[in-house]
């Protein structure tokens, strides 16, 4: 689809959904307390904006996601390269990391709070953990499965190990690493909310919890929409940057 067509598609779909949403909300089938109209949600957003917490929450949450993502992603790439190319690390860490994978981030929140308190540390930890596993898995897979012909070609062209690593293995694995980063960014958001739901004094997750205490579904909807838009934008960002970075392989 052409860019203009895609924008049109997104716009029409959202308008359609909003109309249905509005029709359901005003139909009287469900109390508007529980299911606010689009208009009420818009008013709630303005209210949050006027109070100055709409963007400060956004900034706090984005900051946490960014720090956690950076820590998790850099460790994930580093360890992924090590476990894929060094047998010692593969044997030492592989089984352990595979055992960690089924543990959901939210299960780690209590542990994180005991270890790091309810401050920023526990949030970074939970987010970094989730991002790390996604990035590690993809980096490991991509790096361990570099096409044999590339390695053979590189060696018969006289490349030594260092050059083979930096000029052949890393670029060959790059598409997988980028996929891992994109997945990691999405997961950073999921675990961010999990971390913020228990013990935070700002951020989108906290605001959702706070709204629950006052049964402010309109404010909750604002939070959910924020998360949706932010996640979608971030994903697009990774697609665009990823396509530039690994231009030889369209994602």
């Amino acid at each position: 689809m052409k860019p203009l067509g895609r924008v049109l598609n997104v716009a029409l779909s959202l308008i359609g959904v909003t109309i249905v949403w509005w029709l359901v909300a005003v139909s009287g089938l469900i109390s508007q307390e529980l299911f606010p109209t689009p208009h009420a949600v818009f008013i709630a957003a303005l209210e949050l904006y006027d109070d100055g917490i709409l963007f400060s929450d956004l900034a706090v949450s984005l900051g946490r996601a960014a720090v956690g993502f950076l820590i998790g992603a850099s460790l994930g790439i580093l360890v992924g390269l090590m476990t894929a190319r060094t047998r010692l690390f593969a044997y030492a860490l592989g089984p352990f990391l595979n055992l960690l994978r089924p543990i959901p981030a939210i299960a780690l929140v209590p542990v994180a709070i005991v270890w790091f308190g309810i401050g920023e540390g526990s949030k970074y930890f939970v987010i970094a953990y989730t991002v790390f596993l996604a990035v590690w898995l993809n980096t490991h897979h991509g790096t361990a499965h570099v096409a044999l012909t590339y390695i053979r070609a590189a060696r018969s062209l006289g490349a030594r190990r260092t050059r083979e690593f930096f000029e052949v293995i890393i670029p060959a694995a790059a598409p997988h690493i980028v996929v891992g980063l994109r997945l990691g960014a999405a997961l950073a958001f999921l675990s961010l909310v999990a971390a913020e739901l228990s013990g935070a004094s700002a951020g989108i997750g906290f605001r959702l919890q706070d709204a629950r205490d006052y049964v402010r579904t309109d404010r909750m909807f604002v939070g959910l929409i924020e998360l949706g838009i932010l996640g979608a934008l971030l994903d697009q960002f990774f697609v665009v940057v990823g396509n530039k970075l690994v231009h030889w392989e369209q994602m």
Binding site: T149, Y150, S156, L157, G158, W248
Partner: protein, 271 residues
């Protein structure tokens, strides 16, 4: 087989490949051993062009991979200028059927990758890379990534890349197998032209009889089960050869090879 054609005189005398009693055994998934290649003797004279012809599964690519150092051998020896082949060696260049160009480097980046082992000053490396691309007629595509090149162009970059690092021995594994008929003929002529400038010892694996007879000084016909050489043909059609000038020699050789390749007549049933 001594000096095959006399053209060896024009090379620098390096790049002699001696294969003695070569056996390569693979383990099948069930654990049973399979002799992909058995008791093969083969000598490639310096600067000569040798073709290996045979049906798929006859072990012709396996021999090539063994000379390249890609697969371990189970018995016998492979020597290049007296040195035993023990692993991958940059003196031996390889051109792959699927090009194996690095898609993250431009055409010139791919050629420079090969030149880096010579540790030249940057400017000289660049000049030589451009020169190598000029030899294959692609100097105006130097900045193009492989993804934007046609199959024939990719293989020309791959040829330039391999010749640029000046290997003594050049192994080609069905390099034109993925190309259409016209591109293929153009590539064969280009290969002969570039080879004439560099004169590496070439081993060319193909299942195309015409291609083998057009290019080579010696054509060895292989048979499967176990992989071995069943006949060696001295292709003495004078050079330069043309695709559109079929001589009687050519036809005789062609008929001979065709009969050998016909299933059931080349000793396929022999054990």
């Amino acid at each position: 087989m001594s000096d095959p054609t006399g053209i060896a005189d024009s090379s620098n005398g390096l790049g002699k490949v001696e294969i003695e009693d070569l056996t390569i055994t693979f383990k099948l998934p069930g654990g049973e051993p399979l002799d992909a290649v058995k008791n093969v003797d083969l000598i490639l004279e310096p600067g000569s062009f040798t073709a290996l012809i045979g049906p798929s599964g006859c072990g012709k690519s396996t021999i090539l991979n063994a000379i390249a150092g890609f697969v371990p051998i189970s018995g016998g020896t492979i020597r290049i200028d007296q040195d035993m082949v023990t692993g991958i060696n940059p003196e031996v260049g390889v051109v792959f059927q699927q090009y194996a160009l690095f898609p993250w480097f431009t055409a010139i980046g791919n050629v420079e990758f090969a030149l880096k082992r010579l540790q030249l000053p940057k400017a000289e490396r660049r000049d030589r890379a451009i020169e190598a691309l000029r030899e294959v007629g692609l100097e105006d595509r130097a900045r193009t990534f492989p993804g934007q090149l046609s199959g024939g162009m990719k293989q020309r970059v791959a040829l330039a890349r391999t010749f640029a690092s000046e290997p003594k021995v050049l192994l080609m594994d069905e390099p034109f197998g993925a190309l259409d008929a016209q591109t293929r003929v153009a590539m064969q002529e280009l290969l002969l032209r570039v080879w004439d400038m560099h004169r590496a010892t070439v081993l060319f694996v193909t299942h195309d009889v015409d291609e083998a007879l057009l290019l080579s000084d010696w054509a060895h016909v292989m048979s499967a089960g176990p992989g071995r050489i069943v006949e060696s043909i001295d292709v003495d059609t004078p050079r330069p050869r043309k695709v559109d000038e079929v001589t009687e020699d050519f036809l005789n050789n062609r008929n001979r090879i065709m009969r050998l390749l016909r299933p059931g007549e080349s000793g396929d049933s022999a054990e």
